[in-house]
């Protein structure tokens, strides 16, 4: 009982020390921060990092907007970065305190949602594409045709992840439009293709990692990290990056305006922009990270993984899906609702 009381007292007391020396409060996606990375950071700097989880950009934004949260760093997805900036919730970085800023890979430096990386340091990124068991279908898989014009071999065996933004934008780009388009011609073409293809899909469901590893599905619109895990179970599975355009996402670390431990936060930002540390981030959550030279520090099975290291010829087709206008959002939702029926 005494032990329990002591533990209680410690718990109650410890949380009031949020701004004590050698502390850092990181607000990040759950199961996304490598414990080894934090241990290394503490060993090098003496700063103890406390991680608090969130499970969606919206709940993170809501908590930070309310104020009084006590966090120093947050890791929003690209389309949320500008929202954080516009609301004045994150501050421009003092780059003199992040000498490793130059390690950000050139292709991730001048991103549309944070030109010149004034606000954020890359954490991890990934893509949405198609996972196909090439033992079943050996044709071209680097195209959205795989699920919009399902080849006979895959009819009734391919799944769609139920993510509106990914699916509708893949179809829109396939139809020749820009993501978040308001062009009715393009939207109509995308909708018709989706509705016509739907009978050929086995399902619209999550869980591709499990279902494809078990061989229940032979194809799926899927994320690259998940596809790598499938390939480790079923070697004939390949990942296609649709040449008509495919969504790319990136989560990046930003400094909160009301950060209490600013110096510590800068040390952490500089730390994660070091290739060997970025490699540790990837080794844990299994996504690429956007820091040049970090490949050398990734686990063997990731260094050569075609899902993680996107082949040069398909890189250009990757598109950051921006925050769509309310009108575009309305069109997308309408298509999605029709597709769900």
């Amino acid at each position: 009982m005494t032990r329990f009381l002591t533990a209680t007292a410690l718990l109650l007391a410890s949380s009031t020390l949020a701004s004590a020396e050698g502390q850092l409060q990181l607000f990040n996606w759950g199961n996304y921060t490598s414990p080894e990375l934090l241990a290394k950071f503490e060993a090098e700097t003496g700063i103890k990092v406390t991680v608090t989880d969130y499970d969606s950009n919206d709940s993170a934004l809501a908590k930070i907007e309310a104020g009084g949260h006590g966090f120093d760093l947050v890791v929003p997805t690209h389309q949320y970065v500008q929202i954080f900036v516009e609301k004045g919730l994150i501050v421009p970085l003092d780059l003199t305190k992040v000498p490793n800023h130059g390690n950000i890979a050139p292709e991730w430096m001048d991103v549309s949602w944070d030109p010149g990386r004034a606000f954020t340091i890359p954490w991890q990124w990934g893509t949405t594409g198609v996972a196909v068991d090439t033992a079943v279908y050996s044709g071209d898989i680097n195209t959205s045709e795989v699920f919009l014009n399902v080849p006979p071999e895959l009819v009734g065996k391919i799944n769609i992840v139920p993510e509106m933004n990914d699916i509708v934008n893949l179809a829109v780009m396939w139809a020749g439009g820009e993501p978040c388009t308001e062009d009715l011609e393009v939207l109509k073409k995308a909708r018709d293709a989706l509705l016509a293809a739907k009978p050929n899909w086995i399902s619209m469901d999550y869980g591709a990692t499990e279902k494809m590893s078990a061989g229940e599905w032979k194809g799926s619109v899927n994320w690259n990290g998940s596809t790598m895990r499938i390939r480790l179970a079923v070697p004939t599975v390949s990942y296609g990056s649709p040449k008509e355009g495919y969504p790319v996402w990136m989560d990046s670390v930003a400094m909160l305006k009301d950060a209490q431990n600013v110096e510590e936060a800068y040390q952490f930002l500089n730390f994660i922009a070091q290739p060997e540390n970025a490699g540790m981030i990837s080794a844990f959550a299994r996504y690429a990270n956007g820091i040049a030279g970090s490949d050398a520090f990734m686990p063997e099975d990731m260094k050569t993984a075609p899902e993680v290291v996107i082949p040069e010829e398909f890189k250009a087709a990757g598109v950051f899906i921006p925050t769509c206008s309310p009108k575009a959002q309305e069109y997308m939702t309408a298509i999605w609702t029709e597709l769900q029926k």
Partner: protein
Amino acid sequence: MAERSFSASHLPGFTVVALAVFTMLYVPIFILVANSFAVTYSASLWDGLTLDWYAKAWENEAVQSATLRSLVIALSASIIATFCATMAALGTTRRRAFKGQTLIYVMINQPLMVPEIVTAVALLIFFASIKVATGYQGLGYLIAAHSAFCIPFAYLPIRARLEGMDLSLETAAADLYASPWMTFRRVTLPILAPGIIAGAMLAFVISLDDVVITEFVKSGGQDTLPTYMMGQLRRAMTPEVNAISSVLLVLTVLLLTAFFFLTRKND
């Protein structure tokens, strides 16, 4: 007997409906528990039994601290909630009926009726302003929030017990010149005790399971077991989460079984 009294079990299709309902309720839970013993990472492949995931969850420091935090919050909140609920139950039953009684019931049971997300958002805004003003970031907010929404769960069994009690015992005590406090201490409280314990256990379980309000109220480093598990969903689910869920399930079932025995009519 001329006519059999009405019984739902004699309606056509009773067995089928009952079986279907129980299947839907319990099959997913059985699958979850079974998967927590699976060897492979992947949830739908089956190639052997293991306790590894339990060991892994047990050794995980994040799980340890989240569990301890969950227990501290649930224990504190259930004690506070039960105390308030007992007083509320006494105040609403041990007196003549009064005007606005229904309104008071509704107000006490408010957390049962207001959608959790509404309470969560309201608390987020309210607590945030206190956090800004005072700088205090501790567990106090979570304990206060949990105490509040646990009150009706503690209140209902206590009130039920009070209403089912034989008032003549209290009257007899008063007739024998026991002071009101003495009557309460020596007569009412001992008879009421099972109700209080049942209420406390129900409150404990409700606090232990809460996700939405906790997610919105928690400060830095204050993940509880359920919010920690929610956070795991971004990546592939592992049997480790299944193992933690199974342990939570067993704990909840044990407490609810005890609750059932304590609130049985003929004890």
